[in-house]
Each structure stands twice: as structure tokens, then as C-alpha cells.
């Protein structure tokens, strides 16, 4: 099952990178072919505006995965920075950072993302920013915990004893030891970010039309469930497969790092 998950991810990434090889345009309308069921020329059928669904889904992978990866990179860098600062420096800095983190985490992720979208507006970059910002506190909490467990180790004390500066200890001795759990967290977060991206687009407050995005494609098909269910089913199956694959990858990484957690 885990090999299947990896295969799905590789397939989706390769497809997204090679999207330009597809014969159809993801945005060009062709109302004469609207709501067509799957045929040889359109293997997944067409959407409510006559666009090839396979092409939209492949281009949608670029949007959805691109936003999710960008958001997670932003959150990981900022979260690691504040987390290391909070855990290593301790004292008042730690107390202040953690108080802020606890407050922000008192908003469920979707609501924080909604608030940020309301503030910065819609669009691909803004969505990436909103999803990335709402994920930062989770990273800070994780990295701080890891730093607290690492900073008492002998090798950190040894580095301090030979006169290493705090910044050098943090970057060369502490950060490499928190990267493993961060990679696990990042994999799960990419899955969560893909879900959030498509969820917000489904609600009509994420990626604006006509940019292809999985949630937006699904939203377009919801009014035609009884006559053209393929518009809803096809992108949903791809989305589910990618989320399953990401969660399996996260499980695999977690088990590899800590076999005690194996379910």
C-alpha cells in the first residue's frame, strides 16, 4: 500500500510537470462540448464549460500542490526559526512566543485561513500566504519541543564548552537533529494544505476562476451531480489518492524515524 502511495505521488508530480504536453487548453471554453461524458478524445469527460477534465485536473495539480508546497515551505522556515529561538533562548522570549502560539492555535486551521483570506484577499499567492501563516504556530510548537529535548544533550554541552556561539550551536548542532520530525510533520502538513487549498477554492474564496484547481473544479460540478457526476468524481478521486499517498508517506517516514509509533 505504501509503494502504491509513492507511485501515485510520482505519477501526479510527473503529470503536473508535463502538463504542457496535453493537447487541450485548460482554460479555453467550448460550450458545444459542455458536460460530455468520458470518451476516447476526453478520457475523463468535459466540465460544465466544455473544457477537457483531464487537462484541468493535471493543471490543477500544479496549482493545488504548488500552493501547498509553497505554504509548507514558508511555515517550515518561519516555524523552525521561531521554534529554535523559543526553545534555545528560553525565559521570557519562550513564554511570549508560546503564549502567542497558544492564542493562534485556539483558532481552528480553517477559520484562521478564512480570516487571513478575508484580510489579504483571494488569489494563488495570497492563498499560499494565508495557508502558510496559519501553519506556522504548529511548527513552532513542534520545533520548540524538539529543541528542548535536544539542548540538554552532551554534544550540545560539549559545543558550548569549546566556546561555540549560540547561533552556531543552534544552526550546526540543534537544527540538524530536528529535521527528521520536521520532515514527517511537513508531509502531513502538505496533505492538510492541499485539503485546505481545495476546500477554500470549493467555497469560492480560494483560487479564483478560471485557474484550474481541484476544489474549484469540484465546485463547478456540484450543480450537475445527477447529469454529469464525472465532474465531481474524477477530480475527487485524484485528490483523495494524493491525500492518501501523502498520509501514507508521512506514516512511513514517522515509522522509519520512530518504530514505536507503528500502528
Amino acid at each position: 500500500m505504501r509503494a502504491l502511495g509513492t507511485a501515485i505521488l510520482v505519477l501526479v508530480v510527473v503529470a503536473a510537470l508535463g502538463a504542457r504536453a496535453l493537447p487541450f487548453d485548460p482554460i479555453q471554453l467550448d460550450l458545444s462540448q459542455a458536460l460530455d461524458p468520458p470518451t476516447w478524445s476526453h478520457p475523463l469527460g468535459t466540465d460544465e464549460l466544455g473544457r477537457d477534465l483531464l487537462t484541468r485536473i493535471v493543471y490543477g495539480a500544479r496549482t493545488s500542490l504548488g500552493i501547498a508546497l509553497g505554504a509548507v515551505c514558508l511555515a517550515a522556515v518561519a516555524g523552525a526559526g521561531f521554534g529554535v529561538l523559543s526553545g534555545y533562548v528560553g525565559g521570557r522570549v519562550d513564554a511570549a512566543v508560546m503564549q502567542a502560539v497558544n492564542v493562534v492555535l485556539s483558532f481552528p486551521a480553517v477559520l484562521m485561513a478564512l480570516l487571513l483570506v478575508a484580510l489579504v484577499g483571494q488569489g494563488v499567492t495570497n492563498l499560499m500566504l494565508a495557508i502558510g501563516l496559519q501553519a506556522i504556530p504548529g511548527y513552532i510548537r513542534l520545533v520548540r519541543g524538539l529543541v528542548l529535548s535536544v539542548r540538554g544533550h552532551e554534544y550540545v554541552e560539549a559545543a558550548r564548552a569549546v566556546g561555540c556561539r549560540p547561533a552556531r550551536i543552534a544552526t550546526l548542532h540543534i537544527v540538524p537533529n530536528v529535521l527528521g520530525p520536521m520532515a514527517v510533520q511537513s508531509t502531513f502538513l502538505v496533505a492538510a494544505a492541499v485539503q485546505l487549498t481545495s476546500g477554500l477554492s470549493f467555497l469560492g474564496i480560494g483560487v479564483p476562476p478560471p485557474t484550474p484547481e481541484w476544489g474549484a473544479i469540484l465546485a463547478g460540478g456540484r450543480n450537475y451531480l445527477n447529469i454529469a457526476p464525472h465532474i465531481t468524481l474524477a477530480p475527487g478521486v485524484v485528490l483523495l489518492a494524493v491525500l492518501l499517498a501523502l498520509n501514507l508517506l508521512g506514516d512511513t517516514l514517522r515509522d522509519a524515524l520512530d518504530p514505536r509509533t507503528r500502528v
Binding site: M1, Q99, A100, N102, V103, V104, S106, F107, P108, A109, V110, L111, L114, L115, V117, A118, L119, A191, Q195, S198, G199, F202, L203, G204, I205, G215, L218, A219, G221, R222, L225, N226, P229, T232, L233, G236, L239, L240, L243, L244, L246, N247, L248, V263
Partner: protein, 306 residues
């Protein structure tokens, strides 16, 4: 125990203040006059002027924040720039529906997740165990809006046994609650199984078996109460996810709750309503976490007697 509860209560205060601070700052980050932002472009001039005065925009920022806090405590969350009704009244109309949906979703998640987790752990390695863990992984991964649409396709369009929308009858709640509870059920099933496996291997469970108790009694009376403690934390945290998930579920099923209210108000740039609704949502989440922590002291004797 009382000390623990009081300590936890004291920690919730700053969180609630922090929530109000974030929402207060958020509105001021928007470009333009905050009074116009809150009242909307269509509001009459005298209302904007009155609002400007009540927001204390000519006063220092900390005074403005205190004035905002005072209004929140009095239940004055401003007026919707779309309907011109008080935000508190809009929320009062919608909140019971979201609460009803969240509680039903939680019930679905708890019943399905905990029972699947317990049976999986007791019959570790069986077909049921593998099947339910695969289902749990699906539950965790499936996007809530897609699951909702697939359930509508099956139960409404094909089999025509349940309604797709509407409120008032229990049948209206079935599909939204299933949709909302699926993800939490998956997480709870995995968590319960792991926790039960831990407990079933402990010495006191072996003792209970050795003295001749039936397996059912060992599982339900001895293992489950201990295994339930970490599950309770997840249950509390999942309530927050459920509130978030409710935003999307309500849109799929046309459920007239807070989620739809927020989405509609974002589309209409109705900032007073966004601010008020998010305040109520986040406060609910903080209070549920507090309740879970207090409940913790009741079910965990190590805290109660410690």
C-alpha cells in the same frame, strides 16, 4: 483537583484575550478607515460617525482595544454591513444549527471511531483490524466536501432515501453528520487502537484475565477506561477541526449555520460579521478545550488524586 481546574481556568483567560486582540488588530490591518471597513460602503454617514465615536478612533489604540472589549462583554458585536442587523442577532440565529451539526458529527466520530478502534485492538491482525485501519486512513484523507458530494450522489440522487438539504427533521442531519464526522472517526479509530494495544499489554490487565474475568469485562471495565484518557484529548482537539469542517459541510448541504454565515460574509466583505462570527467560533473552541481538560481530572485518577 480544584487547583488544576483553577490553574486551567487562569490559562484560558489570556487565550480569550488573545483571540479578541487578534481580531481587533486584524480589522485595523485592512486599508482605509476602520469605521467604514466595519460599517461597509453602503452604511449611512451618521451610522459611520456613531461607530467611529463608539470605536474611539480619535483615542489611543489601547483605549480603542478596551472599548472593543467592553462592547464584546456587553454582547455588542456591531451591525452587519449587508443586512444591517446586529451581528449578535445574526449569530444567535445560526449558532444552534452549527452546534447541532458539530455535536452530531462528534457523536458519529466517537461511536464509529472508538468502537472500531477497540474491536481492532482486541482482534489485532484480523481481517476486521486491517479493514478498519484502511477505512480509518480513508477517513483521515478524504476531503470533507468531496465526501459530502459523493454521499449526496449515492443517497439522494441514486437511492433517494435521504434529503440533500433542509433542517428540522433527524433525517436532514444524517448526511451532514456522517460527512463531518468521517475524518474525526478515522483519527479516533487509529488513536483508540494504539491506546488500547498499549493498555491490553499491561500487567493489571493480565491480572484481571488471570483471576478469571470474562474478556468482555476485561476490555470494557479494565482496559477501556485507561485507554480512553488519551482518546479524550484527541476528542477535544477534534472538536476544533469539526468546527472548521462545519464551515465546508454547511456549504455542501446548505445547512444554515455559522460556517455559511462566515463564507457569505467573506464574499460580501462584511467585516463586522466576520469578526463577530470568528470570535464566537474561537471562543467556543477554547471553552471546549477547557471543558476537556476539566473532564480529564474527572476520568484520570492520577490528576484527581495527585
Amino acid at each position: 483537583m480544584l487547583t488544576h481546574v483553577l490553574k486551567r481556568l487562569a490559562l484560558t483567560g489570556p487565550v480569550l484575550l488573545g483571540i479578541t486582540l487578534i481580531l481587533f488588530v486584524a480589522i485595523r490591518l485592512l486599508p482605509g478607515d476602520p469605521a467604514v471597513v466595519m460599517a461597509g460602503d453602503l452604511a449611512p454617514g451618521e451610522y459611520v460617525e456613531r461607530l467611529r465615536h463608539s470605536m474611539g478612533l480619535d483615542k489611543p489604540v489601547y483605549v480603542q482595544y478596551l472599548l472593543y472589549l467592553g462592547r464584546v462583554v456587553r454582547g455588542d458585536l456591531g451591525r452587519s454591513s449587508k443586512s444591517f442587523r446586529p451581528v449578535a442577532a445574526e449569530i444567535r440565529d445560526r449558532y444552534p444549527y452549527t452546534l447541532q451539526l458539530a455535536v452530531a458529527g462528534m457523536a458519529v466520530a466517537a461511536v464509529l471511531g472508538i468502537s472500531a478502534g477497540v474491536v481492532s485492538a482486541v482482534h489485532r491482525g484480523s481481517l476486521f483490524d486491517h479493514g478498519s485501519m484502511v477505512m480509518a486512513l480513508f477517513g483521515v484523507s478524504v476531503p470533507v466536501f468531496w465526501l459530502g458530494l459523493v454521499l449526496i450522489l449515492l443517497f439522494v440522487v441514486h437511492w433517494q432515501v435521504l434529503p440533500a438539504g433542509g433542517v428540522g427533521r433527524p433525517s436532514h442531519l444524517v448526511l451532514p453528520a456522517l460527512t463531518l464526522g468521517a475524518s474525526a472517526a478515522g483519527i479516533l479509530a487509529r488513536m483508540t487502537r494504539a491506546s488500547m494495544l498499549d493498555v491490553l499489554g499491561s500487567d493489571y490487565v493480565r491480572t484481571a484475565r488471570a483471576k478469571g474475568l470474562r474478556e468482555l469485562a476485561v476490555v470494557l471495565r479494565h482496559a477501556l477506561p485507561t485507554a480512553f484518557i488519551p482518546v479524550l484529548t484527541v476528542l477535544g482537539l477534534q472538536f476544533g477541526s469539526l468546527l472548521g469542517g462545519a464551515v465546508i459541510t454547511e456549504s455542501v448541504f446548505g445547512w444554515p449555520g455559522m460556517g455559511r454565515l462566515i463564507v457569505d460574509s467573506i464574499a460580501a466583505r462584511d467585516y463586522a460579521l466576520i469578526q463577530g462570527a470568528l470570535l464566537v467560533f474561537a471562543t467556543s473552541f477554547a471553552l471546549v478545550n477547557l471543558a476537556v481538560d476539566v473532564l480529564y481530572t474527572v476520568v484520570d485518577p492520577r490528576i484527581r488524586l495527585g
